[in-house]
Structure formats: C-alpha cells, structure tokens
Amino acid sequence: MKAKIFVIGDGPLVMGFKLAGVDNTMQVNEKDFQSELEKSLSNNDYGIIITNERMLSGVDWRLKKKLDSIAYPVVIPMPDQSGKSVEGDQIRDLIKRALGFDLGAKK
C-alpha cells in the first residue's frame, strides 16, 4: 500500500520535519491534539504518523490501546528537547518482562 508520512505535533517538531522535506504536517496545541490525531488515524493516505511523545502521553487510554494494537498506520512518538525517551524505556521494560532479561544492560 502506498502511503505518506504525516507529522503532527508542536512547533519545533513540525518545523524540523518540514525542513526534512515532509509535506503533510500539522501544528497543533495540546487541546486539539487528540481529535486531530484521531482524524489522521482514519485517513488512509497516511502510513507513518510522527508525533510528540509528550503530547501522546496526554491522550486517553482508549486511544492509546488502539495505537498499541493497529499495524497501519504506524505511529511514532518522538522525544522532545530533553532527549529523554520514555518510549524506549517502555519497550525495554516489556522485553524484560516477557523474556526475563534486560537488553539495555548489554550495551
């Protein structure tokens, strides 16, 4: 399936990806984020949705659950300026729980 990349998030994120050549972007504030994200999820043109991790953590659990189960489109949360990534830690925790060893400790 042919699809496009869509960026939804705060000012710096959107600007950055605009400079990288992404055409479909939308700058939103925290209040409109959830409804706009839902709208973009139902748009079949978008295959990868890049968004703010901080904003994504604010949406309600039903949407989060949906994000965890769908394979299309793919939603990628990006870390913010501080460079701390909750997403990566989450995945590592999951791995630790499922496989019984810490992958992060190896590096």
Binding site: M1, A3, G16, K18, L19, G21, V22, I48, E87, I91
Partner: protein, 214 residues
C-alpha cells in the same frame, strides 16, 4: 477442582481426552512462542538501539533548529521548507507472523530536483539552516527505519508474553490438575471394584454355606 467430579468411567475417559488435548495445545503454543521469539531476535538485530541514537539525534536536531530560528525568523524557515518539499512515499505491507500483524515498510524519497545539493537560495539563508536541514534529514531516515522495527517489536513482545503465559498456565496448572483428577477417578474406580469383588465373595460364601446346610 479435582474433588467434585463423579468417579465414573465416563468421566475418566473424558479427563483422559482433555489431557491429550491440553498436551497438544501446549506443544503447539510452545512452538508458537519459539517462533515468535526467533522472529523477535531477528528484528532486534536490525533495530540496534535505534531509539537511543534517535534521542541523541533529536537533541542535536532541536538545538540546530533553535539556532536557525533565532538567526532567521519563522517566515524565512517556512519559505525554505517550501523549497525542500520532497515526494516521500512509504510502502507499507502488513505481514502476518503467527497471527501478529507486523508492518513492512519500504520508502522511496524522491527529490523533485535532480541535484543533491540544497535546493534553497544561498541568499538570505545561513549555515544554521543547512545544519538543521541536514540533521532533520538524518532523523527522518532513522524514523522510517524505526517505524518498522519498533512497532514490530512492540507487537511481538506483547504476543510473546501472552503466549508464554498460556504455555505456563497449561504446563503448570491445567495439565497437573487434570492428571490429579485422572488419578483420583482411577483410584476410586479401582476401590469400588475391589469393594464389589469382596462383597461378591462374601455373598458367594454365604450361599455356599447355605447349600451345605441343606
């Protein structure tokens, strides 16, 4: 629980059938788990801590963007970004691994310009913009790579956990319980058989005595 079943032959046969079924299911689930873990490690090799690298890159990207924003204003940056628009096409195919849906992503980024050089004007822009553009180009590439591996890993790991729980539930709870039940029923049946055997003997002895008395 094992104690509230009727110790009948029918029940014994049923329990035996259930044990066979549970064992079959256990074996299959174990195979599924192993296959999932194999797939997971394959993807893990590809992923190679992309997340950590991305976080680092993002910090640098944001910083260069901040510089660019302070040197030029937002309008200038927006103008530059209009010149940079690319045809980015992602091809997403959903692959099915043991019932887990995994996206397979291939990207095609085509610049409408045939030069690999920056396509915005030198006049009115500075190295700050070049920096930000370069950084975010790298970030975009990484994100696309990450999109495939990360979602696949997330889906797989959740499924692995579920399957593992099922395997363990079968192995350590259901099958031992059924075994116990089978043993109990067999024991009760044997006991009943001995019981009736003894009483039959007793009756026979009484009848023999009666015959002799006559």
């Amino acid at each position: 629980m094992a104690s509230d079943v009727n110790p009948t032959r029918m029940e014994l046969i049923k329990t035996k059938e259930r044990i066979v079924l549970a064992k079959k299911g256990h074996k299959l689930l174990k195979q599924k788990r192993d296959a999932l873990i194999l797939e997971f490690f394959k993807i893990l090799k590809k992923a190679q801590d992309l997340r950590g690298q991305l976080a680092e890159k993002m910090v640098r990207g944001y910083r260069s963007l901040g510089f660019a924003e302070t040197y030029h204003n937002m309008q200038d940056l927006t103008k530059v970004s209009l010149d940079l628009r690319k045809d980015i096409e992602v091809d997403i195919e959903v692959r099915n691994v043991m019932g887990v849906k995994i996206p397979n992503i291939t990207t095609k980024m085509e610049s409408p310009h045939f030069l690999s050089l920056p396509t915005y004007s030198i006049a009115g822009t500075s190295a700050k913009i070049d920096n930000a553009v370069g950084n975010f180009n790298e970030i975009l590439e990484m994100v696309v790579k990450l999109a495939e591996t990360e979602t696949a890993m997330k889906r797989l790991i959740v499924e692995i956990e579920k399957t593992k729980r099922r395997v363990n539930a079968l192995e350590f709870v259901l099958i031992p319980r059924l075994d116990e039940q089978k043993k109990m029923i067999a024991f009760r049946l044997d006991e009943m058989e001995r019981d009736s055997f003894v009483s039959l003997k007793a009756i026979k002895r009484k009848l023999d005595k009666k015959k002799q008395a006559n």
